[in-house]
Amino acid sequence: MTDTIANRAAKATPQKVARKIKGLSDRAIAWIFVAPTIFLLLAINIFPLIWTIQLSFTNYKANRLNREPEFIGLRNYERILTDSDIWLNMQATAHFLFWTIALQVLIGFTLAWLINKKFKGNDLWTTIIVLPMMLSPAVVGNFWKFLYQPQIGLFNYIVAFFTGKDPSSFEMLGSVQLAPWSIVIVDTWMWTPFVMLICLAGLRSIPDYIYEAAEVDRASKLRQFFTITIPMVLPFLMLAVLFRGIENFKMFDLVVQLTGGGPGSTTELTSINLKREAFEKWRTGYASAYAIILFVTVFGLASIYVKALNKVKER
């Protein structure tokens, strides 16, 4: 008999175990191995999801366990989708999403394009640039809070240096106009390296012979950029946009650390509002419907993301 992996595994199986599984089909053994994972998946993901869907049709309150939840049909969904305050939260989320993605793509692509050029210290710069991405959002939120301090914060002093304004004359986290931008700046600082890495992968996947052929045809650098670089990096950029879009739609920790949703509710993103409804106001049924709305949105975006990912894989 040849010394295959299966034979070696069979030899290494203790006699006691071998006797127990003797007579079981390959399919049954496969199920035995897979069953714990499936059970965990059902218990942790599927069961809570089904339960949340069920709760979203009731007026259940988790802090009143003695009260029997009443079935109220689609009333929770109706209330959420006609609530102008939630609409404003969605707009705050849209502002955050649009500007973070726009800035991250612009800066990330520029950095990737520069890093892709061969120069001395290339690897060192790549490491330095990707450092913010490796930090915990809670840590980033905390130290940016110090940077934004009007009296001692470095950010205010840098802005003051360039604009000539008094550093303590403006407050990034306390101003209704500036607070939405303060969270955009921090998220851009933290996640631009991620977009840069994806763009870098896209740029490095372009074969050199395409540029060489363009050189032979006397295409200018600008034309090469717009007709070769951009179209070939576009699927990767799409991937980065979708990934960041999904992540930022669910953004919670960074913003809670920075502003806590304030001042007022100017930076109260949907996830923060959802947490308030569920664990401060204890409107569990209502919060469940809210969570299902967000879940369907993220699921829809994730479907597009998977499609884009498959396209990139085909390349």
Binding site: W87, A94, T297
Partner: protein
């Protein structure tokens, strides 16, 4: 455009997935736009239709 319509008529995966993607994107836009409240109200059902459609049409046969 003609290929797209033919694909839709022949129940091909590519064009139907494209249509579902457009509906999902429209739903997400309606959810977050700052212009009219009624668009926000109907955003969820639009996204839900797009998502369910995407799941179904991803089982359609590929283009030849």
């Amino acid at each position: 455009m003609r290929t797209f319509l033919t694909g839709l008529m022949r129940l091909r995966r590519g064009p139907w997935e494209m249509l579902a993607t457009i509906i999902i994107a429209l739903g997400v836009f309606m959810l977050m736009q700052p212009f009219v409240l009624w668009a926000f109200t109907y955003s969820f059902i639009t996204t839900l239709v797009g998502t369910v459609m995407f799941i179904i049409v991803s089982h359609f046969p590929e283009d030849e």
